[in-house]
Point group: C2
Chain length 498, copies 2
């Protein structure tokens, strides 16, 4: 069937919006990697203008008219066809975005750019008070945003839905309660165990070699360097400017010689997802992940279930020992692996191990919810953070950089995003479980540095669909059931740590 004129017009409009979005993403990438400091103010104008132009397109009366015509035209199509799904997806986004006035979008973009700069300054001074007025402004904008929508069961639901379609506090709270209880019990047991030898992680690991290692691992994972690149930034991230340009960043952390590696495997997992999306979906809203949770499941699967496994290090330990003979010459693979997997309650989320990670998320979720409900003031956040960390993980937070200032998300105005990380862990185990049931030889392949069987299973069961499907639909395709199920995740943790 040839495409109707309306469908062609829709694709053209969505293509232009995607181009503007890609340009914003490049300006943002540049801001976080290479931009000179004096350019911060003008960059914030540029980002605001691009975001407004994209928003104007995606809320235009023209798009509304096209959608009405196309809903008539596609009514009788297979509801699983790309065309039917595309119209439905754009309709959902249109209904959401058209409620957001472009003046709010512009003010928010300005505030985000300023907050981002303030966040970096506050980190340099380790002083939350520098960032607090900006966070207050972003929170005010977010509360204003909520007023554009019909009241939900909980106002936070409206924010969750942006990152994971249909997700609610009602679904999240019991799941998080169970994790808090069962995962909390595993954590307590694991932290009681005798600590393995790990002094060899304290030596000097030259940054250039750490980065060379990340490139070798990414290459073997199947990251396509002809459609991406890796740079350094304060906070590692993955971004894409179309499906053929998916970039990652990493950082070298003093005293944590394998932080750059694990952050690269993590971002590499995100990047394989984007690089694996069907190229037919370029310049459409399908050129994205199913949800932030599913996106995070890919990074967590590669980072934790692959990257921290004995099989992974069966291949890589000889390589790494060869690269760092002074540090690892007298260390066995088993000692190395035990040290990498040593459970430790850290104040930093991105440095947290897979065991304690979710507790960091649950803290942020509870704080965000209190802020949105008006039960907590921004000025109280630093103290609440520190006492929450003490309560959940027994960790003393020494300063704001180690505490409330550690993550970039709030400076981007991203409230409702963090729960995706915990769901990502849960989903990663569900997918891993399903992949192993279908291809039991995956661990053997990983043990010889061959990631193709796993990667291709993920590609055909998750990546290729892009954002055509949502979380529940991807779970149905990949695992046979649409339900979020923490059993595989808790089982993996239990087996590994108890």
């Amino acid at each position: 069937m040839t495409e109707s004129n309306h469908m062609k017009q829709l694709r053209e409009l969505l293509g232009a919006a995607a181009d503007l979005h890609a340009a914003s993403a490049l300006l943002d990438w540049d801001m976080r990697t290479f931009m000179p400091p004096g350019a911060a103010e003008s960059r914030s104008f540029q980002l605001a203008t691009l975001e407004e132009a994209e928003h104007d397109l995606l809320t235009s009366r023209r798009l509304g008219n096209l959608l009405r015509n196309l809903e008539r035209e596609t009514r009788d199509l297979d509801p699983d066809s790309d065309s039917f799904r595309l119209v439905a997806k754009v309709r959902r986004q249109y209904e959401r975005d058209a409620r957001t006035p472009s003046s709010w979008v512009r003010r928010n973009a300005h505030a985000v750019a300023a907050a981002n700069t303030a966040w970096e300054k506050a980190r340099a001074a380790s002083d939350f008070r520098i960032f607090a007025p900006h966070l207050q402004k972003l929170l005010g904008l977010k509360l204003e945003y909520l007023t554009f929508f019909e009241p939900a069961a909980h106002p936070y639901d409206i924010l969750l839905d942006r990152f994971d379609e249909g997700l609610t506090c009602g679904a999240l709270e019991p799941l998080f309660l169970r994790l808090k209880r069962e995962q909390g019990a595993i954590i307590r047991k694991a932290l009681e165990k005798e600590r393995p030898r790990s002094e060899f992680l304290n030596g000097s690991y030259p940054a250039a070699k750490q980065l060379a290692l990340t490139r070798r691992v990414l290459t073997r994972m199947g990251y396509d360097w002809k459609q991406g690149r890796q740079d350094r930034s304060v906070h590692p991230f993955t971004t894409s400017f179309g499906l053929s340009d998916v970039r990652i960043t990493t950082k070298v952390v003093k005293g944590k010689p394998f932080s750059a590696l694990f952050s690269s495997i993590h971002e590499g997992g995100h990047a394989l997802y984007e690089q694996g999306i069907d190229k037919r979906y370029a310049r459409t809203p399908f050129a994205d992940g199913a949800s932030f949770s599913v996106h995070e499941s890919q990074s967590r699967l590669w980072e934790n279930l692959v990257g921290r496994s004995p099989e992974f290090w069966n291949y890589w330990f000889p390589v790494v020992r060869n690269m760092f003979p002074e540090n690892l010459g007298t260390v066995s693979r088993e000692e190395f692996l035990a040290a990498l997997n040593e459970p430790e309650a850290s104040p930093i989320r991105t440095e947290a191990d897979e065991l304690t990670y979710n507790m960091h998320i649950i803290l942020r979720f509870e704080l965000e919810k209190s802020l949105i409900e008006g039960k907590m003031k921004v000025t109280e956040l630093s103290d609440a953070w520190n006492s929450g960390m003490k309560q959940l993980l027994g960790v003393e937070v020494r300063n704001d950089v180690e505490g409330v200032l550690q993550d970039i998300h709030w400076s981007m105005g991203e409230f409702g995003y963090f729960p995706s990380y915990a769901l990502g862990n849960v989903i990663s185990a569900q997918l891993w479980d399903a992949a192993l049931k279908r291809i039991p030889s995956i661990p053997e392949a990983v043990a010889v540095g061959d990631y193709a069987p796993l990667r291709e299973w993920l590609r055909t069961h998750v990546h290729v669909f892009g954002a055509k499907y949502n979380t529940a639909e991807i779970l149905a395709v990949a695992t046979g059931s649409p339900e979020l199920n923490p059993d595989p995740y808790l089982k993996l943790l239990n087996r590994k740590y108890c």
Copy 2:
């Protein structure tokens, strides 16, 4: 006087257009520095969308209405005031751009992106035939562009005007004839002289040290690294994303150890211009050079009149000899300077010395004119180029990379741009002459590495005005006369080479 509502609306519209332009420029910078090769096609879509959005804004009926209102409101203002000048400048651009349909802009942007990629491929294979069909397409688009305008005395005048307001073939041809005759005579005399010792330029000069030298020199010139950065690209260029982010690129050329330095001084001259523009003019059409010729006068002034002078090397030669003791340990400053200034007829424009440089430009001008007049076919260009080089400079061109493929400009669809380079040489000498009349101690300051007197004179007499004034007006402010005058330039060449 407070600004009228219309003026505020004009500034807002121009600001948004400037933001879109800055985003295009960043996408272009990224394309030429860091972009992975697989992204070429999607990048061309993005550039086309941004350029179309900017074009739509700058040719909108809304802008037309604002201009009509503002022309009434500003009628009685001082004709030299910013407001009066801004309205007049935007009117001129509006009249020009409104004649260009956005469909042409989009097709042209696509063709440019594809041609740029083809140009790089053609260079890799040293085969003009790979690039020719793309050049043919760009030429066709340019001829179509000319049909949008009232016929001029010569169709090429319409292209010249884009880069230098009011410049015509009628003015250019006699100037170029005089340069061909008088500069040609100086070249013949100079090339007859005995060649100085220069074997020390053939050794190995490590790239990292070459780049470190460029950074030291740029820093002393006054390039502001907080509002810029330097990267590497195939063809060095300067670009800006607002007045607070002016970036340059350079390249290291094997066998030409000071090419990176001179290209950096050249781009540094462009960058000082942009960094010196009054910050009040940010996000307006004044945030630009007076013309491409005046822009080029800044780069040529720093590169040739400063960078190749005995005074410059009085300060830098000891530094450079210290950096490269194996190459320069037994070389005197005078020998070094003589080797750097040795006239040589090179096939490559960017490697040409100041003596032979204009001949390269005159060749391109004549070829472009023939293409536009339809007197030459694109397929004949490689041969015509090679025989032109033989005739003008006695140079044998060995292959297309050394010949017709050497410059990026045609792959960007930039016809009518090259004459700016020759005018830049002429104007650089006019400005240098005027600066020395006013501050005779400039050479003494240069001799101790102090560029502040020269830079500040240029800042207050050229840079600060941005594009508020055109070439003639800048000449009037800086030299006392609006006329292009080749006398200072020919006098400098005569004194140096005869």
